[in-house]
Amino acid sequence: MPVWLREHRWHQTLTAVHLSLPLRGARATAANIFCSERYLKVSIPPFLFEAILYAPIDDKSSTAKIKNGNIFFTLYKKDPAMWDSLTLENADKEILQNIRENAVLKAQERAKEETEAKKVTKQEHKKYALEATMKLEEAERKRIEDLKEKERQKVTKELELWKKQQKDAENYKSIQKEVELNQEIWQLKERKNEKMNKTRVPNEGASKTRLKPTTGCHGSSSMFSQNLKEEQIPSPRSAATIKVNFTPRVFPTALRESRVAEEEEWLHKQAEARRTITADLSELEDLKEEEKNPDWLKDKGNKMFAMGNYLAAVNAYNLAVRLNNKLPLLYLNRAACHLKLRNLHKAIADSSKALELLTPPVPDNENARVKAYVRRGTAFCQLELYTEGLQDYEAALKIDPKNKNIEKDAEKIRSLIQGTMQGS
């Protein structure tokens, strides 16, 4: 149950009501006061004071001062008129209730409006700040542009000045040249006259000693200076050849063309393959030392193949593969054997395995790859799978486009395919 605060004092003027409320020791803050147009409430638990005002007031401009344990309210009346009393006496409970509710609603609405207004002002402030920074940056940019522009103009002016100087210098030079030339011509004429005077005495010599004035005035001065210069220039040097060697590379491509990464990978793989020994020691104990070497076995296999003993070759390769299953050449050669033995599916399997191991594709393993494709292609064709066979032949051609045999065979297969298509 709240404790009602009833000891309040009030006085009024035409426009305002002054109300003072003692607080009996309780401390009040703005949060405890609730005021709307017709309703005033102060709630400081457990104390409670409420007043339903006689007439509406302007709650926005009204104030409350908390001082010395009292609250002093200054309520500005909406209508300047003297009130009979502070509160509405003899009011109906319902009316009172309504007024209370309205007050609360109004307060809520007002709170909403206030937050909205705050938001709007915040937005505007942000916008303003943004515009201000933009302006500053623009100014900065403009300043730099202006400086640059000034530089440009200064430099252009200098250039023009320099050009003018050049022109003036040239004109001056040409005028000078003319003057000099005139002088020279005059001198030549003088000399000619002298000589002619001299030779008039012995009559025969006259014709021979005709001074030839050089043709074309402009040629004379430059020719003189040119002659002087030519004496100083050495004669062309005697021809010789210097032979040149170019830096070799492991892979014959310049760095920009090489695929260094892939080539490294290939070399690495080869090295690894050499080192792998998938040994199954128990069975191999009774083998001779040399028979445990995959390379030796490969050579043996090659020899058997050459002799026509394909089964023996296959055996040799099998053993080699058991020792080291990472050497592509073993599979490649075994595929050739299987082809001869007409074990076509095995030939295809081995060629495929060889191709797998022959990655990454580099110029170094070109030959091996061509052979693998050709062998697999042949096997496919013999199984009458011509399209697959043609694919492999074309792959081989891509690597080695200059090989005539492969080209011929590819053509044959193509015509075969077309033949069967037409026939069916």
Binding site: L147, P234, T241, V244, N245, A254, R256
Partner: protein, 359 residues
Amino acid sequence: SSAPALERPQVVSHVQQSLSYTVFDCKWVPRSARLLCLGSAARGTGVVQLYELRAARLELLREIEKPKPIKCGTFGATSLQQRYLATGDFDGNLNIWNLEAPEIPVYSVKGHKEIINSIDGVGGLGIGEGAPEIVTGSRDGTVKVWDPRQKDTPVANMEPVQGESKRDCWTVAFGNAYNQEERVVCAGYDNGDIKLFDLKTMSLRWETNIKNGVCSVEFDRKDINMNKLVATSLEGKFHVFDMRTQHPTKGFASVSEKAQKSTIWQVRHLPQNRDIFMTSGGSGSLHLWKYEYPAQRSKKDSEGAEMGVAGSLSLLQNVTLSTQPISSLDWSPDKKGLCVCGAFDQTVRVLIVTKLNKI
């Protein structure tokens, strides 16, 4: 901050001219405000255009068409009065033209079997001493030196050994021409080889390999005791060699820099300051560099032989002008900081680099 940045040299774009052909080389005409553009027209013929720099424009003075596309040109071997242009074309022909009467060349020889990639001249323009000579490097793997006074045969021929596979020569440069007898030719090849040929002794003086194809080589000055050599290559790397001290086995000391991700097409030293040079790149950018010498340029190694010490490089400025490679670059010998560059976007640009006096 921007203030110190504006103290550095700025590359100001002065004029830009759009061309209707692919420009491969651009050169200033000495003692003038005129420049030449050499290239290949769409119909497969060669083009030479002469422009003059007037106000803020390039005015076309003359256009000459030749049967074969032209790849490179130089004024290096001609006198100041004559100012004849030597060109190399796509067919391997070396021609020297009098631009006043360009119908018939003053000198012509089918020097190579394939395109002449690069040309350089020495002994002309009143610079240095000795006979005027022109060197050409070609895709046929040979480097040949010509004297305009000797017809048909070169005065020096650097060719691959019989039976050896050849590599394209991409760039050539003269150097060390400080008196009448001394001269060297430096050649860069597409496999990264750089070879230095001594013309006085007619021998190979030094060679090295920088792994990536060499796009451009240039000595900082042709007419002095060889001082520095810059070699640029693919993949954005270039090397600066200190050529004053040659070690018997290690050769010349060098410092290298990786500037851009793309090919560095050209290097050109500023004629007025041999320690500043500009590199042009495949991404359409230009970088301006300064070389700083070390405290001591040479030192003794463990066996007492002299070896060079390379200095350091600092980037003064860089600017991106185009989206296509800038394939040719030339500084004006008459005005410090004025340069022209030609790019594969069929545009030639005249630039001014400011504040070079303050370096």
